[in-house]
Symmetry: C2
Amino acid sequence: MPSPSTGSGTASRREELLGIAAELFAEKGFKNTTVRDIADAAGILSGSLYHHFDSKESMVDELLDTFQTELWRQYDEIEASDRTPREKLEAVVRASFDAIGSHRNEVAIFQSDAVFLTSFERFAYLGERNQKFRELWTRLLSEGVERGELRADLDVELVYRFLRDTVWVAVRWYRPGGALSPGDVADQYLSILLEGIAT
Amino acid sequence: MPSPSTGSGTASRREELLGIAAELFAEKGFKNTTVRDIADAAGILSGSLYHHFDSKESMVDELLDTFQTELWRQYDEIEASDRTPREKLEAVVRASFDAIGSHRNEVAIFQSDAVFLTSFERFAYLGERNQKFRELWTRLLSEGVERGELRADLDVELVYRFLRDTVWVAVRWYRPGGALSPGDVADQYLSILLEGIAT
DNA sequence: TCGCCTACCAAACAAGTGCTTGGTAGGGTA
DNA sequence: TACCCTACCAAGCACTTGTTTGGTAGGCGA
């Protein structure tokens, strides 16, 4: 059987196990997390995981695919909205920080393991999403420059990488429940990014 | 054939092997690189590595320790110099980008494996260095604010993390020999950081 | 009571892991 | 010649890895 049916009644145990796996993948990396680690954390034996999932790969696949789909639903909505490039840029940055707040593990897994996983055919979609992501963000930056909303003397490609990295790398230290909400962090990041830290 | 006697101009076999290991550690991560990977890349058998090194851990230890020592020699020099906080901050950022240029593999290894390695007693010094690093950078930021060189309305701790991450994460995409030198990248990063990207 | 389902255990498997051991080819030194 | 040194090979060890197999306890509808 390719994958257990999830249609009937409670898929709760499966969801629970997936959450435990996500936590461990995020903390130690996909390859450095063993199926025995996951099973131990769940209080079962490693073989029992295979009643719920095809493979270790299937677990991370399901986690990343679900997350990416949801994130892009928001991006698409922002892109199609009636705002200036700079406003759209601010909106996608805020949506990304929200994703760090609501899907911390998935973002962390993507950050640390995407390069490794993309080498497998099964995860080719990660590379495609990444390319689409790059196109969206650089387009918004370029349009912002054209409209005079953003500085024209900077290398757009470099600003893109700067922006992308600063946003996503925050998952390394951000912990929900702290003093700052994802929105608060986004506010300060955008303030730094747009206006700089100099007086 | 290189001169067989030790200590002459040509790099020793040991150095050569260490370089090969660094490349693989940086590319795939420490744990995901096997001793057989290293040996294959060097054209020898895995057991033969143990003629040169105690263990796989020893290799990464030597790489990181050497790198950190050199980097901190520069940081200490900058800290002791006669400059304003903002100038010192710019100098350490530039020194860090230079490190990405000259020790790309070591920086990459530190970025992706420091958390994992710090859990071993042998690598406790990584945690200490990290703490020292945090103190230096936040002190420079605070002093910059006090002197009126930097904005006072931002959370220093958050700016520190922003700054730290933006600098070091660049190792993920920076490739020596490209269009931009480490100095060029540092210039643009500092310009964004200090003045922002808005018009 | 019967059969079926979900969730799990117990045990094993082949492949891969870091590392050890005993040996050897070839060059330099005394 | 005799000896030592560096750099390596060949084979194997104990352990960990993801995964498979056959079996079972307990709940539920008919």
